[in-house]
Amino acid sequence: MEWNFAPVIANLDILLLGLLNTLKVTGLALSLGVPLGLGLALMRLSQNRPISMISEFIIEFFRTTPPLVQLFWFFFAFPILFNINMTPYLAAVVTFSIQSSAFFAEIFRSGIQSIDHGQWEGSKAIGMTRNQSLRRVILPQAVKRMIPAFMERSIELLKTTTLVSTIAYTDLMYQANSVAQSTFRPLEVYSVIAAIYFILIFGFSQLSIVVEHRLAKSGEGTVN
């Protein structure tokens, strides 16, 4: 057995396009999933029972069903139900936005609930509405505490997006499959993309450690 990376290098542009698409889906799912997750968390924390229950159902549903099933559902079933055209790209973005929003909702919720009740009281007593308290006092503190869980979830999301190759979206995994098949060099191709994922995620988690340290240093203790 000998290693030959020449075919991989020759097809590097295809792999890089895949990487770009992977980052695109991950980035979009994050930027839609985070605000959606905040919305779900606020619904879940609402004093209105029905609203809270709807949110709870959505969160639990997307946390407990396998992401591959969700992806297939949005790609194959959803278009039949609503008679629309679904592209692999759209299905991927929709699935992972909603799926990650369910996880982000729980991160937001536990972050918000971890803030001492006295913070609500202190802001209420100077005349703030619930929304003002949330925006100015509670969330700025909660977000700080959420960052480690948020980073971990984002990494998880990046990994889960490899599933989109199954519906023929040209992400890094899909491109690797096609290069491996056309060049008959699965050993080198899959080794290289494993390395790419490793570098990407390892770099990201190192970054998150730096961020955490920064926060810990500037960390005015959150309990008074």
């Binding site: 006295g118 202190g122 007593a125 100077i126 005349g127 619930r130 008074n224």
Partner: protein, 257 residues
Amino acid sequence: MSELIRVENLHKSFGTLEVLKGIDLHVNSGETLVLLGSSGSGKSTLLRCINFMETLTSGRILLNGDAIGSETRGKITYKESDLCKLRTRIGMVFQHFNLFPHMTVLQNVMEGQLTVLGRDKAEAAEKSMIQLTRVGLADKAAEFPSRLSGGQKQRVAIARALAMDPDVMLFDEVTSALDPELVGEVLKTMRQLAEEGMTMICVTHELGFAYHVANRVLFLNEGTIHEEGDPQSVLRNPQTKRMKEFLEGHALFKLPE
């Protein structure tokens, strides 16, 4: 002296537990009222009802003669916006300070002015410095609360409430969480406020403060006002058995004269 706050037939229950069983009281402008009572007597709940940190079960509260809430067919409803406006006029200071740890001292005092009153930054900063000077902490403006002692935190909390220019201040056991040696500086600040004519309602266990600063003392027992009067007579010559026991409990380990 004009009447600033009137509480009429206030009842408050938590579930089946009735904590306040019909309270009537009034506070005149410039007066300092001290609420005494053992734990569970309802004094903190009463205080928290006055600025609607708790919703009333029944009864009503008037500020400057105007009843809070809107009454339709005998049922009083309270809008969040009305209550928020009310709370800007009734300042409150808590046992555990409840300062915002992610803001500096100055930002803490400015926050309500910016977010709630809509003052511009320069004005809010100026008013904040006036109040911080008043409580003797102007030099701590740039610090974060975590760098302050308990007594300093509590004085910042007082400045934060004062910066809203309230008509009346509520103090809810504000020295109970402090080291004994820090209690004095907070009481001193409160005394100074009282002398400057601020209207104050204080829940406290500091009998000395009640004796020297209060215009009137109310003793709460089991959700009702049990005894009431000027501090010299109530604290020196209690009329009821319950009040006597309460005072004896406090005097148990006093230094000999």
